[in-house]
Each structure stands twice: as C-alpha cells, then as structure tokens.
C-alpha cells in the first residue's frame, strides 16, 4: 500500500507514492500519479478518531474537506488529522448553489489549503443535491481561467461531462446516485459512455453505498472512486473503509483482467467427453 506521503513537502509538490514506487498502475490525476484510486470524504464521521482510523484503513491519499466559518469552540480539526497522516487535503465547494459562490469558496480554499486543486460542487436543489449544470460549467470555466485544477462533481450526463472536459477540467466526477443515498450506480450505461468518451480521468463520486458499488464503478472503467457517507456512517467505519479499499482494488484488477462475456445460456466448464457410462 502506498507509503505515507512525505508531509514536509508543501502541498504543491508532495512526493507521490505512485511515482516513488514507479507504479505502472498509478492513478493519474491532475498531472500527478497517485498510489490509491480511492478518494475519501471526511464528512459524516461521528468523531475525528473514527475518521482517522477509517482514513488509515482506506489507504486513500486524497481526502476531501470543506470550509466553514471558524467555530472557536471546535476541538481539533479534520485538517490536523489529514496533515498528521501525510495525506493530501482536497477542498470542496459543498453547499454552493451559484457559480459566484463556488468561485469565491474556491479562492478561499486556495488560501486556506495552499493548493489550487478544488473539488467543484455547484448544487441545483437541496433534496437531490444534484449538480446545476449551467452554474457548474460557468464556475469551472472561471476557475480554470484562474489556474485552478478543477475536479467537478457532475451528473451522469455524457454531454455535460464532455463539456467539462473540453473546458479543461482535470477530471470528471459523475455521480452514481444522490449524495448519501447509498443507491449505488443507477445508470451504469451512462457511466460507461462517459468512460468511453473521456480523455480525462473519470472518478465516480456520490451514491456509493457498499463495496460492490465501488467495484462496479471500477469494472465499468472508472479510474477512481470518491465516497464518504458509505464509510463515515457505516456501523463500523474502519472495517467498511478497508472493504472499500479492497473493492476498488478488486474492481480495477478485474477491469484489467478481462471478464468473460455475458451469455443467456450456459457453458459448462467441465468437459463432456470422457463421461463414464455407469449403466
């Protein structure tokens, strides 16, 4: 598993375990090679300790965080844990409903985290938390112009994914189903189409409920998976984090191993010839 990322180096040119291990299987994202294809969100954990144990068990190197007003009473912070583990904190613009808010939040994040990477989220409504395509594209354009490395949380519309890619996003991160719904991948066909036409990495973000969802995402050809609720709110977050890690690795390996085709009828694996005639 990827060695701990060297925490002294500034966020910008952190030594990538992928590169350091010369990992031909490395996960290419944002012009760097990472050792783990699982990106974990820090939202929803019952405690920082539970979050820390789960992050370690997940093997994730990229961990998402948000920005909120300072709470003077808060004890400890997600960022301290992430820095302590030598992981890469990827800020998001969760909670933004307009391009303007998202751009501002990204600028704040650049100050707060000293990185120009941003998980861009621009939401359309608070029941589905689906992305607002128009605002998302607008925000992406502006942030790319300002030199951000933009990783947009998008829906599973292949056309929007292509527009985001053409605008210069570093990846496209289509949802499988609503954030925190645990419904897995509702439309695997669209995800496949996005994967087919993508010239940037595709990371399935949102809706993963259980490891088989994560494995399916990788088997469909996604380059990585981003999940949070399915681990944070599991009965045993640490054990679920480990399961997700194995699922992403298994799915990726399966994709490269080349599965057998699906058929309606059977094809026995035991030879028929040489069957004894037992009277």
């Amino acid at each position: 598993m990827p060695s701990k990322v060297d925490s002294e180096a500034s966020a910008a040119e952190r030594v990538d375990p992928g590169i350091s291990r010369g990992d031909v299987d490395g996960f290419q994202l944002g012009g760097r090679i990472w050792g783990s294809r699982l990106i974990v969100g820090t939202g929803g954990f019952r405690s920082l300790e539970a979050m820390e144990r789960a992050l370690v068990a997940s093997g994730a190197e990229i961990v998402t965080v948000a920005l909120r007003r300072v709470d003077p009473l808060a004890r400890g912070s997600a960022l301290e844990v992430i820095d302590g583990l030598g992981l890469f904190a990827l800020p998001n613009t969760a909670g933004c409903y307009t391009a303007r808010d998202a751009v501002r939040t990204a600028q704040l994040a650049r100050e707060a985290f000293e990185t120009d990477w941003i998980k861009l989220e621009v939401i359309g409504d608070d029941r589905t938390l689906f992305p607002d395509a128009v605002e998302l594209l607008d925000a992406a354009q502006q942030l790319i112009d300002e030199g951000f490395t933009v990783l947009p949380y998008t829906n599973d519309d292949p056309i929007l994914a292509r527009r985001l890619q053409d605008a210069g996003c570093a990846a496209v991160m289509p949802l499988g189903s609503p954030i925190g719904s645990g419904m897995g991948i509702r439309n695997p066909y669209n995800i496949q189409i996005i994967v087919e036409s993508a010239s940037v990495p595709v990371v399935l973000d949102a809706g993963i409920g259980t490891p088989s969802d994560a494995a399916l995402a990788m088997e469909l050809g996604c380059n990585g998976v981003l999940l949070s609720s399915s681990v944070a709110r599991a009965k045993d977050p640490e054990r679920m984090a480990r399961a997700m890690r194995q699922a992403v690795e298994a799915g990726y390996a399966a994709r490269r191993a080349g599965r057998i085709p699906r058929k309606l009828h059977a094809e026995g694996s035991t030879p028929d010839q040489g069957l004894p005639d037992l009277g």
Binding site: G41, T42, G43, G44, F45, L48, M51, T64, V65, A66, L67, R68, R69, V70, D71, P72, L73, A74, S77, A78, L79, E80, D83, A89, P91, N92, A94, R104, Q107, L108, A109, R110, E111, A112, F113, E114, I179, G180, S228, S229
Partner: protein
C-alpha cells in the same frame, strides 16, 4: 468600529486589520486551513496584517472542517 464578523456584529478597535478579525473569530493567525473574505473579496493570507478594516464591512473567517 463595528463590523460584521461571521454573521455577528462585533466591535473592533479603530485601525484593526484583517489579522485582528481572524483572532477575534477564534482562529490563531498561523493555523493552517484558515481563509478570510471581506465583503465577498478573498484576502490573501500575506495581506492579512496590511489590510485595514472599515466600519460595516462584512468579514467571513473560515476554516477546514470535515466535508464529503
């Protein structure tokens, strides 16, 4: 002078800077993960000490929290 700090009306001494507002908000200056916007404009960390605040400005001081 009075400003709006994270949604609360707060009294600051005249000549107070963004850096003072950060401390007032409960974050220490050099803690990682802190960022500030004044009237919607992001103030670069390096400018916190040099940027004087004016009455009725709205200051938002944010910090990293767990997020999906």
């Amino acid at each position: 002078m009075t400003i709006e700090l994270n949604g609360r009306t707060v009294e600051l001494s005249p000549g107070a800077t963004v850096a003072d507002a950060v401390i007032e908000a409960g974050a220490d200056r050099d803690s990682r993960g802190v960022a500030v916007a004044v009237d919607g404009q992001v103030i670069r960390r390096v400018d916190w000490g040099k940027t004087k605040l004016r009455s009725d400005q709205s200051v938002e001081v944010v910090r990293a929290v767990q997020g999906g």
